[in-house]
Structure formats: structure tokens, C-alpha cells
């Protein structure tokens, strides 16, 4: 049955690439964990589990533009105090 109901997929091929660092990881305990899959995680999720990767001084090196956008969408706005993704200034 063809369906018009599409869930957003959250699966990625596990190619098991032996890449120690895709991101310049600062925490030595994370090295060797083969986290090449981080590039496919949503930006807000990376912000939750690795706050150091989304530090504004290095975020552009660590995350892809899409991940940065995803991360920023969930930041609490200093102006309105909500997760408004910058839309409060448009009101």
C-alpha cells in the first residue's frame, strides 16, 4: 500500500568506518569510540550529549551547517525566554 504518511527517517547506514575523529574531540575518553556517526545526529541532540562541541568558538568546525541550524532552533532566546528560533524579533 503506497502511503502519504511519511515519518521522518532516523536511520543511517552503519558503514563501520574506522574513523577516530571526525570532530576534533576534546574529551580524550571519547577518542577511539568510532563516533563517525556523529555527523548524522541532529544538532540539538549533539548539544545535549556533547556540550563542548557546540561551543560558539568551535561549533562551525564541529557541526555541519544543517546541524548548526537544528541546534540553534532549540536555543532559549535571550529576548523572549522561549525556544523561538529567532522569530520573536519578527513580531
Amino acid at each position: 500500500m503506497d502511503t502519504n504518511l511519511q515519518l521522518k527517517p532516523n536511520l543511517m547506514l552503519d558503514l563501520s568506518e574506522k574513523v577516530d575523529k571526525f570532530f576534533p574531540l576534546y574529551r580524550p575518553e571519547l577518542r577511539g569510540q568510532n563516533r563517525q556517526d556523529l555527523r548524522y545526529l541532529p544538532g540539538d541532540l549533539i548539544g545535549e550529549i556533547y556540550p563542548e562541541l557546540v561551543d560558539r568558538r568551535c561549533i562551525k568546525n564541529n557541526l555541519t551547517p544543517e546541524q548548526i541550524e537544528e541546534y540553534e532552533q532549540y536555543l532559549v532566546c535571550e529576548l523572549c525566554g522561549r525556544r523561538c528560533a529567532g522569530t520573536c524579533v519578527l513580531d
Binding site: 503506497d2 527517517p9 536511520l11 547506514l13 548524522y40 545526529l41 541532540l45 550529549i49
Partner: protein
């Protein structure tokens, strides 16, 4: 399919069914028709502990159908795939069980009359038959001791029967890039399919059809017309007459015979002895019918059929001039008025065959003898989290259960809600369509250390159903789904 190049094919029809044999070494195919040289009616008659199938059953329907000790199952093909059961003398019988009687009849008939044992066969099914229906059909065949090696779409079987049954044989290379319209008007339905031939592959472009306007309805129309003519001529009123129990059966059989005769002759007589009676007299029916009268009776049905052709062409985005062959099959395609109307539209591109009633079974037998397999008509893939599409099976892949298994290792990019979402897609020349979604439970707790691995498995079974299952590494239970509507074609190269 056997290693000796002999193959059996079965056309399990709504109103008629027939089996056939083909020999690859001689290139010949032969149908196992009944004693009258016609396919076997798909009618199952339960009476007491006995079961009768075929023409004998069909000819008794109206005589006994109102009596409690007789049960007639007709058009059982329409009930396959819906898990429907029928209460026959207090015992529940599934549609597959009833259909198995038809298979058993075909098998027994082949053994007794032609000394051929049908142990396995390629079975032709309509294009719209989905996996559930094919699965029940397999159950029916299994119960009768016939193993279905594979299924083939009826129009493809007809094309195979037409091309390979010719002397000399027509090769598909000669027809490359052509579009064939298969017009199959049988006893129960009209099925129109536009088929594309490309590099040895047969794929369906569009379908259309009518469900209740076919041969059986024409018999009834003719019967009603003959009855009114008889009553008018004898100045009788139907309320004054008593009809014998067997009259309707004999009347319908006679009308069917006259209908077939009128395709060759311009005039025929419908004769039913002792059809009606009053208190003092018995009446025989003996009315003449002309071909023109019969064609007037069904003119609206012919117009409806022509409209369906336009619909099929519209769906396939084709013009009449782009159709290279129009293959006429099924008994009702022999009606001269229909042939004239089609000749006006398609001219010499109309192809008729002598074995129009059995060509599907013969084509299926040829496919069995040549060991031709169905192939995927669309690419099956999955949507990935980065928006790309990953192909699992390419279009043109032969569908065999032994080679169809594919495991894919994946990981969940965002397991915060405890769900991995697999989106299965199909891709054809129109674009990518979502086929279905499978939600696989995963654990959100592992996230800090590693994304949970998910093993997804794809597998085709013999009924051309795609099974997809997935399991998170931390979970014990598999989640699975079945896709019943995978489109398949035929590779004859």
C-alpha cells in the same frame, strides 16, 4: 518447471480455468480443455459428501441452487485474499479450500484425459492481485498437490503465449520499445493492460477494466431477449407459466452456445425443450436470433469496453498511435462488433489468436518450460536520515526467494523517543513513492556511548511478498511488516 524443459501453466479464472503443458524442445504448447474443447468453468458443486467441479457443476446451478442439500460456489477467485469463509452444510470452508477443488479438478482431468501429472506449475494472476490473494491461491494449489513455482501476470502470460506460440516464433527483440495493449474479455471480467516491452522486459504501464460486464452477462441478456420474443410470439404472459427446475440452466447453456455460434454465423436458433408448462400444455422454446440482434443487445457493453481502452491509454499517458499491437484474448473478444470497433481505432495492429480462451494458460506453461522468472518492475529502497535514498533492490532484479535476502546494518541517529523509523520507498520512471513505514523500538539509554545498531532484513517469498523486519541491538523482539503490492514484470531475454 522441470529440468526436462516441460512446463505446466494454469489460468485460474473467475469463471473459467484451464491448465496447459509446454515443451521447450518442440516449442509447442497444448491446453487441457474439457470434452467440449473449452476451459473448465470455475464452479464447485457440493452435494452430500461429493464435490463436482467444472461444466457438469455449472450446468446444474439453477436446477439445484435453491435446494438445501446443494451448494454452488462460483467466482471464488474474487474472495481470495480476504480470509473469507463459507458455511457449507454447517462446515466452514475458506475461499482457498473451495479454490483447491478447482485445482484438484484440473489436475485430475489432466491425469485422466491426457495422462499428464501436474505436480508444479506457473500460475497466471490478474495484475491487480496482491500478495494476500497470491498467498491464498498458493494455499489452494498446495491443498490440491500442485506446487506453484511462480506467479505471472495474465497479460504477460498472454503475450508470452502469443510471441512464443507462433510459427516461426516472434522474438522480443523485434518488439523492442513497443507498447502492447492486451484486451482480455472473458466470462466474468474485462481486463485491459498496457504493457511496455523494453530490452526483453515486460512491464505494465496501466490497467483498466469492467467487473460485471462480460460473457456471463451477455448470456443472460440473450436469454431475457429470447424469452420476451417467445412470450410475444405465443401471446403468453410469464405469470401464467410454470418453469421447470432445470429450464434456466438449459436456457443459459443454450444461449452461451448460440452466442459463440453467432461469432461465425449470422443467424442461429435457441432451442430449449419443455421449458415452460401450463396446466394443459408443455412449451418448447425455438427462437431464431441474428447476429445483429445480439450485437444490439450488448452495444452498450461494447461502448463501455472501448471507453475503458481510452482510460487505460490516458493513464499510461499514451496516444492510440503509440500502441504497436492490440492482443485480443478471452472468449468475448471474438464478438464481430467489437472486432469492427477496434479495427476502426487500431487498424491492422489488432492481433487475434485462435486459442484466445486458453492462451494465458499456454503462455504460463511456456514461461514454466523456459524457466522465465518475474522481475521487479520498480526499485525498492529506503530513505535515510540525511534525506538520501538507498537502493535495496534495483528494478529488473529477478524475484526468487532464494536470492532475495538482504540484510542492512544501520544505526539510529536520534533515539530520544525510543523509536527508529524505517521509511521504505519505491522508485519508477514517475518518481519516488513511500511504500510503508516500520517503527523499530530502540533504547535511548545508550546514546552517550554509542548509537544503537539496528539490523534490517529484506526478503522476498515465493508469493512475491516483500518481508521487512528490523531489530534494535538492545531489544529482543523483531518488528516486521509485509509489502503485498510490489510491482513485478517479466524478463524474457
Amino acid at each position: 518447471m522441470t529440468s526436462t524443459g516441460i512446463g505446466f501453466g494454469i489460468d485460474f479464472g473467475t469463471t473459467n480455468s484451464v491448465a496447459a503443458i509446454a515443451d521447450q524442445s518442440t516449442g509447442r504448447s497444448r491446453p487441457f480443455t474439457d470434452d467440449e474443447g473449452r476451459p473448465h468453468p470455475s464452479v464447485v458443486w457440493y452435494h452430500g459428501d461429493d464435490v463436482t467441479v467444472g461444466r457438469e457443476a455449472k450446468e446444474q446451478i439453477n436446477r439445484y441452487s435453491e435446494e438445501g442439500l446443494h451448494y454452488f460456489a462460483t467466482s471464488v477467485k474474487r474472495h481470495l485474499g480476504y480470509e473469507k469463509s463459507f458455511n457449507i452444510f454447517g462446515k466452514e470452508r475458506s475461499a482457498a479450500e473451495i479454490a483447491s477443488e478447482v485445482f484438484r479438478h484440473l489436475k485430475t482431468h489432466a491425469r485422466l484425459s491426457r495422462n499428464e501429472e501436474i505436480k508444479e506449475a506457473v500460475v497466471a494472476v490478474p495484475v491487480y492481485f496482491d500478495g494476500r490473494q497470491r498467498r491464498e491461491l498458493r494455499q489452494a494449489a498446495d491443498e490440491a498437490g500442485v506446487f506453484i513455482t511462480t506467479f505471472v501476470h495474465e497479460p504477460f502470460a498472454a503475450i508470452a503465449g502469443y510471441l512464443f506460440g507462433q510459427e516461426p516464433e516472434i522474438s522480443l527483440e523485434q518488439l523492442d520499445r513497443s507498447k502492447i495493449l492486451v484486451f482480455d474479455w472473458g466470462g466474468g471480467t474485462l481486463d485491459i493492460t498496457v504493457v511496455s516491452v523494453k530490452s526483453g522486459n515486460l512491464t505494465e504501464l496501466s490497467t483498466a477494466g469492467l467487473n460485471d460486464r462480460a460473457g456471463d452477462k451477455f448470456d443472460e441478456s440473450l436469454m431475457n431477449a429470447v424469452q420476451s420474443s417467445f412470450l410475444t410470439r405465443n401471446e403468453l404472459n410469464i405469470t401464467e407459466l410454470t418453469q421447470l427446475k432445470s429450464t434456466k440452466d438449459r436456457f443459459l447453456v443454450e444461449c452461451e452456445r448460440a452466442k459463440i455460434t453467432l461469432s461465425d454465423k449470422k443467424k442461429d436458433n435457441v432451442r430449449v425443450a419443455q421449458a415452460y408448462q401450463t396446466e394443459s400444455k408443455l412449451y418448447d422454446i425455438d427462437e431464431s436470433v441474428t447476429r445483429a440482434e445480439f450485437e444490439t443487445l450488448i452495444s452498450q457493453d461494447i461502448q463501455a469496453a472501448l471507453h475503458e481502452i481510452d482510460k487505460a491509454l490516458h493513464k499510461a499517458n499514451l496516444d492510440r498511435s503509440e500502441i504497436t499491437h492490440v492482443l485480443l484474448i478471452g472468449g468475448s473478444s471474438n464478438i464481430p462488433a467489437l472486432k469492427r470497433a477496434l479495427a476502426d481505432r487500431f487498424g491492422s495492429r489488432i492481433k487475434t489468436v485462435e486459442n484466445a480462451g486458453t492462451i494465458i494458460a499456454e503462455g504460463a506453461a511456456i514461461i514454466a518450460a523456459r524457466q522465465i522468472w518475474p522481475v521487479l518492475a520498480e526499485t525498492i529502497g529506503i530513505n535515510l536520515s540525511d534525506g538520501s535514498n538507498y537502493k535495496i533492490y534495483d528494478a529488473g532484479t529477478p524475484i526468487k526467494s532464494a536470492t532475495g535476502y538482504k540484510p542492512v546494518n544501520m544505526f539510529c541517529t536520534d533515539p530520544r523517543d525510543g523509536q527508529a523509523r524505517l521509511v521504505i520507498t519505491s522508485e519508477n520512471n514517475i518518481g519516488i513513492t513511500i511504500k510503508d513505514n516500520l517503527v523499530i523500538p530502540v533504547s535511548p539509554d545508550l546514546l552517550k556511548y554509542r548509537n544503537e545498531r539496528v539490523e534490517v532484513k529484506f526478503r522476498f517469498d515465493d508469493d512475491l511478498i516483500l518481508h521487512v523486519s528490523g531489530k534494535g541491538a538492545t531489544k529482543e523482539k523483531n518488528e516486521s511488516l509485509e509489502l503485498f503490492d510490489i510491482k513485478f514484470g517479466l524478463y524474457t531475454g
